[in-house]
């Protein structure tokens, strides 16, 4: 009888686990995706803004920006199994802050303006 109940429980548990896991996963993934997307959009836009200014094309800003974009591009933001996720994310955050200070932009000011309720 234990086995009888077990089988039924196993099936219910399987679908329950899938649902629960999916919900948790979606929120975690969305947090990372939102943050990475934001850096990406920020970097892309600033690249164009800097590019229109001839004096900035080879500047240190541009180099840091390119390096940030390279890091983001390599970052597998949608892979939960990536074992260096936090390490890489911290490096990206650091690079982003460096870029902000070079651009003379307050990263905090930007974050507070987001108001999306996502804490990075």
């Amino acid at each position: 009888f234990h086995g009888e109940g077990y089988q039924e429980g196993y099936e219910d548990g399987s679908s329950l686990g899938r649902i629960e896991g999916r919900q948790h996963g979606a929120l975690r993934g969305a947090k990372i995706g939102s943050e990475i997307g934001c850096y990406q959009g920020f970097a892309f836009a600033w690249k164009h803004l800097l590019h229109s200014d001839a004096s900035e094309r080879d500047s240190r800003k541009m180099r840091v920006l390119e390096s940030l974009m390279g890091m983001i591009e390599k970052f597998p933001y949608d892979d939960p199994a990536y074992d260096r996720l936090h390490e890489d994310l911290d490096r990206i955050r650091g690079k982003f802050r460096q870029l902000c200070s070079l651009l003379n932009v307050q990263p905090d000011f930007k974050m507070s303006a987001e108001g999306s309720g996502l804490s990075f």
Partner: protein
């Protein structure tokens, strides 16, 4: 209270019948005990099975959800980052405060959309229900035409959306269109089941803003895929 009667009547009936029949009484007891035991075993089995089943699929579900969540939100993040870049650029170049506040409104709109998406990710397995949608409108305190009645059928809800869309259209055209918050447009578009709720609209606004700033719209090139 029928169970009280049942409980009190069963033993007495058994007493009368089985009062001299000790063997019968015992087998009944054994039978009952055995049934209880069986049920307990089934319950235990169910609980064990539930835990085991959950343990197996939890990680799978997490991985699947993670990918979905990341993919669905990335565009919103990119748009938010782009707007943030424009905002910082405006601040550095001392641009007019109207444009700055316009960017801020668009940023708010993106934030609201993201929140909406997150809310839906939490209830990812259940199809959005009419009542839920109405609730979320009410939560955001946006809808001026939500009827009090809770039992609203689908057709009525669609009509509601149409009303709202009409309302927003009028808003956009009227001279006081500025008073109409971006958010209201957001919700309407979400309710018309567009694939990327209101992103298109925000993107449009962003593009016209970029033109006003005198920047080439190439700055939005990376958002074209939205």
């Amino acid at each position: 209270m029928s169970w009280v009667q049942a409980a009190s009547s069963t033993p007495s009936a058994a007493d009368e019948e089985d009062v001299f029949d000790e063997e019968a009484d015992e087998s009944l007891l054994v039978q009952r005990e055995w049934r209880n035991h069986m049920q307990r075993r089934i319950k235990e089995g169910y609980r064990d099975g539930l835990d085991a089943g959950k343990a197996v699929t939890l990680q799978q579900g997490f991985n699947q959800g993670y990918k979905e969540g990341a993919e669905v939100i990335i565009n919103y993040g990119q748009l938010r980052g782009t707007l943030s870049a424009l905002l910082s650029w405006c601040h550095l170049h001392d641009n007019s405060s109207t444009l700055i506040s316009e960017i801020n409104s668009l940023l708010d709109a993106v934030g609201q959309c993201e929140e909406y998406v997150l809310k839906h990710l939490k209830s990812i397995t259940s199809q959005p229900h009419v009542v839920d949608l109405l609730d979320s409108i009410e939560d955001m305190d946006l809808c001026h035409v939500v009827p009090d009645k809770k039992k609203i059928d689908e057709t009525k809800d669609e009509r509601l959306c149409e009303n709202n869309a009409e309302f927003n259209k009028n808003c956009g055209k009227s001279p006081s269109g500025k008073d109409c918050s971006y958010l209201e447009r957001c919700t309407t578009q979400e309710h018309s089941h567009s694939e990327n709720p209101n992103l298109a609209w925000i993107l449009e606004q962003t593009a016209s803003l970029v033109k006003q700033l005198g920047i080439s719209t190439d700055v939005l090139q990376h958002l074209k895929q939205l």
